[in-house]
Symmetry: C2
């Protein structure tokens, strides 16, 4: 479902022109965005790579100046960098400025915003559920977000024009929008994103300890893919979402106990019954995502 009119704003400032930020810029250009896009980054190499994509009008390391002329700011830095951006928004943001982000956790983003801004009604949190184990603007793609879910954390008191603008941004990039509270979001991504990352890391740890990498093949490669994700980015996520991840991990340990009991006591038919039930649940989920993507 794309909006009837593609997203437009006078001056979009993308703070953090990395994989996600630059994919937003490329995606908007491809869909006819004609406003100004400014990328703000600290590292010269990142700025040069972002410039090479041709998606930005300007790339700069001057965050205060960029924020001072923005109609919308998209925050696409690691979670540990959000506070510094909100601080600059408080100092230099123009009246009416709309703020959204790509942060992988949402309660921490709201807490960081609250620490610096008195009015949060124009800060509309977003988590576009797309990514890659690569990082940096060189891996950016105009279609990175197409068909993927995007969670928006919208409070009843939020400004309607800010909500519309942020919804239009992500719809224009082809995402399907889901609204939920920051707490709900953080619990759910702990289960389907952060816990799978931990499982990947732990599978790698076990292989290091017990051996077996010499006979590892595609199943091991795929289940450990997330263990190659950017460590500081993942550490920020784990830091920001500790309680929900520990809750998911506790449930995962219960599942370990159940599996061990099956291996100790169940016969092959009983084991197959459990595996069949879980496979059906996965196939039903896959079918539902296919349907949504093609709807």
């Amino acid at each position: 479902m794309e909006p009837s009119t593609p997203f437009q704003t006078d001056s979009l400032v993308i703070v953090g022109p990395g994989l996600l930020g630059t994919s937003v810029a490329l995606g908007l250009r491809e869909r006819g965005f004609y406003g100004r896009i400014t990328g703000v980054g600290r590292r010269a190499e990142t700025l040069a790579q972002a410039r090479a994509t041709g998606a930005y009008d300007t790339l700069t390391d001057d965050l205060p100046a960029a924020i001072g002329q923005a109609s919308m700011v998209l925050i696409a830095v690691p979670l540990s960098g959000f506070r510094a951006v909100f601080e600059q928004i408080a100092l230099h943001g123009r009246p009416g400025l709309i703020v959204t982000d790509v942060g992988s956790t949402k309660a921490s983003v709201i807490a960081d915003a609250r620490a610096h801004l008195s009015d949060l009604t124009r800060v509309i949190g977003a988590h576009p559920m797309a990514g890659s184990e690569t990082s940096g603007p060189a891996g950016a793609r105009a279609d990175l977000f197409a068909g993927r879910p995007c969670v928006l954390t919208i409070a009843p008191t939020d400004a309607p024009d800010a909500v519309s603008a942020v919804e239009s941004l992500w719809l224009t990039l082809g995402m399907r929008l889901l609204r939920m509270s920051a707490e709900q979001h953080d619990e759910q991504v702990a289960v389907v994103s952060h816990m799978p990352h931990l499982a990947s890391v732990m599978l790698m740890m076990v292989a290091e300890k017990l051996g077996g990498l010499g006979v590892a093949s595609s199943g091991f490669r795929d289940t450990t893919r997330l263990a190659s994700s950017n460590p500081p980015m993942r550490a920020d996520i784990m830091d920001a979402n500790r309680a929900s991840i520990r809750k998911a991990l506790a449930s995962f340990r219960v599942a370990c106990d159940e599996m061990d009991a099956l291996l100790a006591d169940a016969d092959a038919d009983q084991i197959a019954g459990v595996l069949e039930r879980v496979r059906s649940a996965r196939e039903a989920w896959l079918a539902s995502t296919q349907k949504e993507t093609h709807a």
Copy 2:
């Protein structure tokens, strides 16, 4: 490393013309195998699908007759079906018959062979580490095995001509051969194949229990891919390799404890340090497989 002369034998009988068995047949045909290939299966649908691939000279459900005219038998049935095949080999196999297999565990295969055959020196166990979450001959591919590892469990007393023939078979299909004992094999695949399958299943179980599938994306899809594997086949593997899988699971539970301690006590930098170390280990493993594949 391919053998100088591609594998040849007069009459290869593939018991179980499914994904793996038919991929062997297709791969051999593509590499100029000119002997007779007979596929033996029980289900008419499987036989029809296998016939449609064009890789077999004959497809039949008559196992005794097929074994009676074989120079080599490749057993590619689920682990729970091995005993019945060894029983027929004992009754109908000609002198000099060579036997190999694709079984995912190896100690159980040797035990099943020993239950029916007095001479195991021409039974050369193999585990070609390739597969897919699909099953059945329709998913077979001539290049399924290319570049992948194949474990051979060769005893010092095994017949040299049988060892050479089986090595030649898997080398012709483009595999890189690894020799180890059945026990070593079973411990290593428990770590890099069976434990990842369990982790996939458990991630799905946690998502069913706690919710979150609505925001699940590519990371979840990839880490749970193995949970869609064929349940009876996986149950057979778990049944045949209980002790080694439980050992891997015990190590995995220790890793869960370590992760929980990190989430409880460590700061983001300490967490990043652990993730960085694990990522490096994975990248080193990936680099080593690339090197072997292209060597």
